[in-house]
Amino acid sequence: MSNDKEKTEYVSYLEHQGKYKGIFSWIFTMDHKRIGLLYLYAIVALFFVGAIMGLLMRIELIAPGETIMKPQTYNGIFTVHGIIMIFMVVIPGLSVVFGNFFLPILIGAKDVAFPKLNRFSWWIYIAGCILAVASQFMKDGPPDTGWSFYAPYSTSTGTNVIMATFAAFVLGFSSILTGLNFIVTIHQLRAPGMKFFNMPLFSWAIYATAWTQLLATPIVGITLLMLIAERLFGIGFFNPDLGGDPVLFEHLFWIYSHPAVYIMILPALGIITEIIPTFCQKKIYGYKAIALSSLAIAGVGFLVWGHHMFTSGMSNQARWFFSLLTFLVAVPSAIKVFNWLATMYKGSIDMKPPFLYALAFIFLFTIGGTTGLLLGSIATNVQVHDTSFVVAHFHYIIFGGMGFAFFGAIHYWLPKMYGRMYNMRIATIAWGIIFVGFNLLYFPQFIIGMQGMPRRYFDYLPQFQTGQVISTIGGFILIIGTVIMVYNLIKGARSGEPAPANPWHGSTLEWQIPSPPSLENFDEALAIKSNPYDYE
């Protein structure tokens, strides 16, 4: 593979001098690690914007009636909160940050298959973000449709829907190209000797995610184009006044957006699968089962979209079919949880922050997932559909799942990415505050949801106030914890103590190279283990 390269001195990718200098060495970089960091910064910034909007909603909801904003503003805020969080933070999220940074390293490659394409995806991601943010400030005001853009409301409201949907389209394009890139990378660039079943499980998760991105995103792409055409020309696809069918829009939207939730969670499951064996110093239990369950989730996950539409007037046959499949798709997730617990059994457990996040993940994911079962059961869905129970479900599983996995991943890999260490004590304290705040914030929403508090409500009846107040308090605790965490991480990355190459005694490939890695990742030939989690 390599030509006669002379032994070179080690230079980290952060210091490497390329063709461009200064800021351009980042904007024009083709290095997968730098692109990963660029995504990280963008995503953290957007997450911050989205989180502020979440808090604004919480403040508004602290008491019935108008508290700090008008209904129209509230509607704009939850829409934009949803669009930012879903399309710009969690869908790309883990796969573009940690997938970009670590996928090539984990499989022993120098870079992704198409570095230029990778850079291009990053550019259009930014273009999409700019479009979406701009749609907030354009003349007609922020879109107020909810992130699901349901027709015919979205075809008739006067707000800036076209720009927001177009932004989502552009972001989808970026997502497709990233997925494509990763699939080819995994197929073509595995280090010699590494078979599919020798790959670390995070790569498997990325692989399954990438397929979902590749195959599901085009459907929402075309749907959003149809929506735009509908608004521009009145072509009638989704407008019942013109013979169209709004439920068809729901179908098309969820054909994408249900698989999209697995785009969010699969890499998170993969990261937890990396963290647990490392901190237990133990081989992962049931490697094959975990690898295949990722594929199973991605595959079956394609066919259950109708569970978002149980009350839309679908045929009864469709209702039971989707409900049954929804239940079945929960099983592979359950298998993963069992395997993680089995991995901890007789391990040698080190309670470092990444592991704490993994534990919290299992707890929160179980709550989020099992409330998913309550949503998937038709009888109970009728009661809690479109109530804050759903809101609690997906915050638990997205923020509690994907979000905590993100926090765990950054605590796990920060020493490798920056070559520095953060303060463990502060990290642990921040973890505790975040965990408490999180549960205070979302748990009450399950209860008021079951009692009938509808979602997307600017105002509510007095009987729901207790829950709403607790929830708002939790929101503030949560944000305190997050700020401490972020501060600690930034400080660590900039001026922490230098980190050794393998601070956690991990066994996968990224720990066998210096921290931070050099430009080409691997300057020496490496030995591929047949099981990446070999702690013998």
Binding site: L215, I255, G306, S315, Q317, A318
Partner: protein, 94 residues
């Protein structure tokens, strides 16, 4: 990395495939001009399916590609068919 040596398809084969496709096109037009009612959709889609298959196998060289790619292509069509079928579980029973 080694350069792959793709299979080279002979001009003659391509020409023949084209003739078959031409014939099939002619066939659909004539068949659908009869009133076969419900069948015309099926027949037209069937013929289109055959044509698509020919293009995939010969023009797009799938015949000479790796088994993996062939399986993937097949899976995409299966997946799409499933999505359509499942959507129609709703529409057919409304």
């Amino acid at each position: 990395m080694a350069n792959n040596v793709s299979h080279i398809t002979e001009y003659k084969v391509l020409g023949k495939v084209f003739l078959v496709l031409l014939f099939l096109t002619f066939l659909t037009i004539t068949v659908t001009s009869f009133e076969l009612a419900a069948f015309s959709v099926t027949v037209a889609l069937l013929i289109a399916g055959v044509k698509g298959f020919m293009i995939l196998t010969y023009f797009m060289h799938l015949k000479y590609e790796s088994l993996l790619l062939r399986i993937l292509v097949a899976l995409i069509f299966v997946l799409y068919a499933l999505v359509v079928l499942i959507t129609f579980i709703d529409y057919a029973y409304r």
